[in-house]
């Protein structure tokens, strides 16, 4: 067996076990989520218990997102982005906002998109849709306020020699760990275990964006009152309306 064959065999085996584990975790998350929701239907529970349950729902959803990130990363290995259907970013952003609110039912979340454009098609279908959602979820996780305000800006621009839609998502209250400011995500992830746990989602976002032929960058954002927020920049290849 050649080294390439051995590597492929190991990758397949790893993907198989990850698939089995991921499936079990999602089933268990379904049960936890279901019973938490069932508990919340009881009008007699007090406000504090209700808030604890809502926070637990958020964490079940984040654990689900982590599993889905791994599954998506494995599924998109060797992907040809042009084989995916185009998706309208505007619709995808609205859908992501709806799902983001379900992730954090205890928080007030608002997302404003500018400037107004009629349509913005990119390659990526459901993969791009999930990528947007995961970027927003990661940003919301860095923001510890009850009220989360995200600003999304869109523009057309060249990236990797092609026309892309570039989406920046800003949150002035989403604070990056000081040790990762202005560093490359992959560098932090592989060299600093203490902060890497916070950045797993961003690492996956970057891997998936790259497999779609795009880019994903993280930057600190100077906000008002000396606050240091975060900006995610996602570039996805522009596509024609299907």
């Amino acid at each position: 067996m050649t080294a390439e064959e051995e590597l492929r065999r190991r990758q397949e085996r790893f993907a198989y076990y990850m698939d089995l584990v991921g499936h079990d975790v999602l089933n268990n998350n379904q049960a936890v989520l279901g019973y938490l929701e069932l508990m919340l239907t009881n009008p007699d529970i007090d406000q504090t218990t209700r808030e604890y349950a809502l926070k637990a729902i958020t964490n079940v959803r984040i654990s689900t997102a982590l599993v889905e990130n791994i599954k998506r990363t494995l599924a998109t290995r060797g992907l040809d982005p042009s084989s995916l259907r185009p998706i309208d970013l505007l619709k995808a952003l609205h859908q992501a906002e709806r799902e983001l609110k379900q992730f954090f039912p205890a928080r007030k979340i608002s997302v404003t998109v500018s400037p107004k454009v009629d349509e913005a098609y990119v390659v990526g279908d459901a993969v791009a849709q999930e990528l947007l959602l995961h970027a927003m979820v990661n940003l919301a996780r860095l923001d510890l306020e009850d009220k989360v305000e995200m600003k999304v800006r869109m523009k057309e621009q060249q990236c990797k020699g092609r026309m892309c839609w570039v989406i920046t998502i800003e949150d002035v209250n989403a604070e990056l760990p000081a040790s990762v400011l202005d560093k490359d995500i992959e560098e932090v992830y592989t060299q600093d275990v203490s902060t890497s746990a916070k950045l797993t989602g961003m690492l996956f976002a970057r891997m998936i964006a790259s497999r779609l032929g795009g880019e994903f960058h993280v930057k600190a954002l100077q906000g008002p009152d000396g606050k240091l927020g975060t900006t995610f920049t996602l570039a996805l290849r522009k596509a024609n309306r299907p």
């Binding site: 991921g22 499936h23 999602l26 089933n27 998350n29 379904q30 049960a31 989520l33 279901g34 019973y35 929701e37 069932l38 239907t41 079940v60 959803r61 689900t64 599924a75 379900q102 459901a126």
Partner: protein, 121 residues
Amino acid sequence: MTSVLIVDDEMFIVELYRDILQLRGYKVVGTAFDGEEALKKYSQSADKPDVIIMDHRMPVMNGVDATREIVRLNPRQKVIFVSADVMVEKEAREAGAIDFLPKPFRMDDLIEKMERLSAAK
């Protein structure tokens, strides 16, 4: 009262659906832990369930094959497909599933779909 058959190989998932559906006033008329058992129970039952909640990844016979066989027996049978495998949605719909929910989903989403199907009965 809308009747439901639950098909899933995980006992705790079957219990969860049963708890929630019964609480919301649905009648759980049966459960099955694989596709073949579901098909057998379905074909032997005199009163067919109004809705079947069908998982995909199960031993013996998977959810897509079971759905296809059940819909072949009764093209009007309503099947809500639920699975952690989102990639299987297209196949499930082609087999005859009327709707699809990716696991984990909100119970309100399941109830909303159940209500819509009950109203269309």
